[in-house]
């Protein structure tokens, strides 16, 4: 089945005030999320990031403001129609316990009235996509699966009708650390292929760095402190709040974000230690810390420690 790529999301002066409260939970939130990008909303708990995300599919109705998806104003589209075109994954997963895995995944296709054969084929395709064998898992019930497997089903269910937009609220937050890292990496690979427009909410900055094409750092009332690529945010935090969120080791974290493929290297490969071109500056730095004087970058050339420092300085300057 052809894969629908993402559409741009534009949020204009989006505001939410709950009844009987003094101030807005989300105040005049403006943001444009480019088509096909994964944008992470990151911020302390209670900052309104989840509320903001849930206003996009109107699980929470905005008090005022506008939502545009693919240029179309959907602020007043009937909510259930809007939601059938937006994938939705939440931390609590929310699989339907009385339905088999295959029926859970088929939820939106069934709502859209797809014919049986098409739905069945799509369900099998999706279960394969998230790494679950349909023959083995399709007929099981959610409680017969582990937490990690359940969240894979959650992702498959959200993708079932091939929506352009995907909303994810701390989807991997409830899984154990090992499963979480594996799910994050798998999802990153999946997203590179699918190119959906994804809004991803987390309070885990590491996760934001790993997954985000862009990161929006939010503070109270969903105020945007900074909106930029992970590299931009690490190398040039815009405000003190962002700085405190990024933490001390910004430069070290940045190393993991820069691949060796694009950097300037010295000619020749005279060193005894070699790192593949597909690795990042972090692996290169690792070799220096463990005692190498110089390292080969695949067969393309080599780096000394001074040359590596130049590369880091240049990268930081470029990000600013």
């Amino acid at each position: 089945m052809p894969n629908v790529h993402g559409e741009e999301i534009r949020l204009e002066k989006l505001t939410k005030r709950y009844p009987n409260t003094e101030k807005d939970a989300v105040k005049e939130f403006n943001l444009t999320i480019p088509a096909g990008e994964l944008v992470v909303f990151v911020g302390p708990s209670g900052c309104g990031k989840t509320t903001t995300m849930k206003m996009i599919n109107r699980i929470i109705e905005p008090t005022s403001g506008k939502i545009l998806i693919g240029g179309k104003d959907v602020t007043h589209t009937p909510a259930h129609e809007l939601r059938r075109n937006i994938g939705y994954v939440i931390q609590q997963i929310g699989l339907f316990p009385h339905m088999k895995i295959s029926d859970n995944v088929a939820t939106v296709p069934n709502l859209l009235g797809w014919d049986k054969e098409k739905t069945k084929a799509r369900v099998n395709e999706l279960l394969h996509l998230v790494g679950l064998d349909p023959a083995e898992y399709g007929n099981r019930y959610p409680k017969q699966l582990s937490g990690g497997q359940q969240q894979r089903v959650g992702v498959a269910r959200a993708l079932a009708a091939d929506p352009a937009v995907l909303l994810m609220d701390e989807p991997f937050g409830a899984t154990d650390p090992i499963t979480r890292v594996r799910l994050q990496k798998e999802f990153r690979a999946l997203q590179r292929e699918l190119k959906k427009t994804v809004v991803f909410v987390t309070h885990d900055f590491e996760e934001a760095l790993l997954l985000g094409d862009r990161i929006a750092v939010l503070s109270e009332q969903s105020h945007v402190e900074q909106y930029g690529t992970p590299l931009e945010i690490l190398s040039n935090p815009a405000t003190d709040r962002v700085k405190s969120f990024v933490g001390d080791a910004a430069a070290v974290r940045m190393l993991a974000l820069v691949g060796l493929a694009g950097i300037d290297v010295l000619p020749g490969t005279p060193a005894t230690v070699t790192v593949p071109e597909s690795s990042t500056l972090r692996e290169a730095m690792e070799k220096f810390i463990s005692g190498a004087d110089s390292i080969n970058i695949g067969t393309r050339g080599h780096l000394t420690f001074d040359a590596l420092q130049d590369v880091i300085a240049k990268t930081r300057a470029a990000a600013k």
């Binding site: 599919n57 699980i59 909510a79 259930h80 129609e81 809007l82 939601r83 059938r84 075109n85 939705y88 939440i90 609590q92 997963i93 929310g94 699989l95 339907f96 316990p97 009385h98 339905m99 088999k100 895995i101 295959s102 029926d103 088929a106 939820t107 939106v108 709502l111 049986k116 739905t119 069945k120 369900v123 099998n124 349909p134 023959a135 399709g138 007929n139 019930y141 959610p142 409680k143 269910r157 909303l167």
Partner: protein
Amino acid sequence: MAKIKQPNLTAGSMYSQSARLIFKRNRSLLVQPVLILVILGIMMTYIHNHKLDIIEKVTINTKFIFKAIEDHLILSFSAAAIILLIAIPGGIIFTRPKMKRFTPIALALANIGQAFPAVGLLILAGIWFGFGKPVAIGTFAAFGTLPILRNTIVGLQEIDPFIVESAMGMGMTPGQALRKIELPLAVPVILAGVRTTLILTVGVATLGVFVNGGGLGMLIIPGLKLNRQIVLLVGGMLTIIVAFTMDWLARLAEEFLRPRGI
């Protein structure tokens, strides 16, 4: 290439559970009918070994007893049917977001219905609305509404809110979420309420005799008044047998209708 077995995608099998599995899991479901038969046997033996006098013969005969049982079933089933029609929709309405604030009022009303002494309620209704089966049925319905109403409300409220949120997030309308997700998940709790109500109505239906409604009270009350122990005992035992049978049928329904996976 070997054909890969495709998973069955039909939702029709949602409720089907093999009967053998259910009885295996729940042995007491087999014990209950045996118990019913034992009570029945004791009663029959007792009647058989007793020489009936002329007063006893008026009530202890097949025609009279079957008529009493029939009336008793009409009374309790009609009341239960009215309750189902009121209490389940009521429970649904009072759990919808817009009506939630009225839930305590509805529960309070149902509580009053049950807290009233059944005999008093019945006699008052008889004086106001006249005697006969309809009045008896109406009173029993008021009396037995609480368990189903309460269980429908509780069953729906107990559902993990994130399951409902994800149903809405998938694009279900509130009605679809109710039909496909909320009600099936609340079925076990609702059916437990149905069972309680059935037993309750079978019990109070013995009072139907006070407003000329018939039922097994036709044996119990004369048995007491005329001091005929055998009449009293047969009436009491038959009430127990009917109640036990209802309970058993309702438990079977609970087992078979419970959705799999929960």
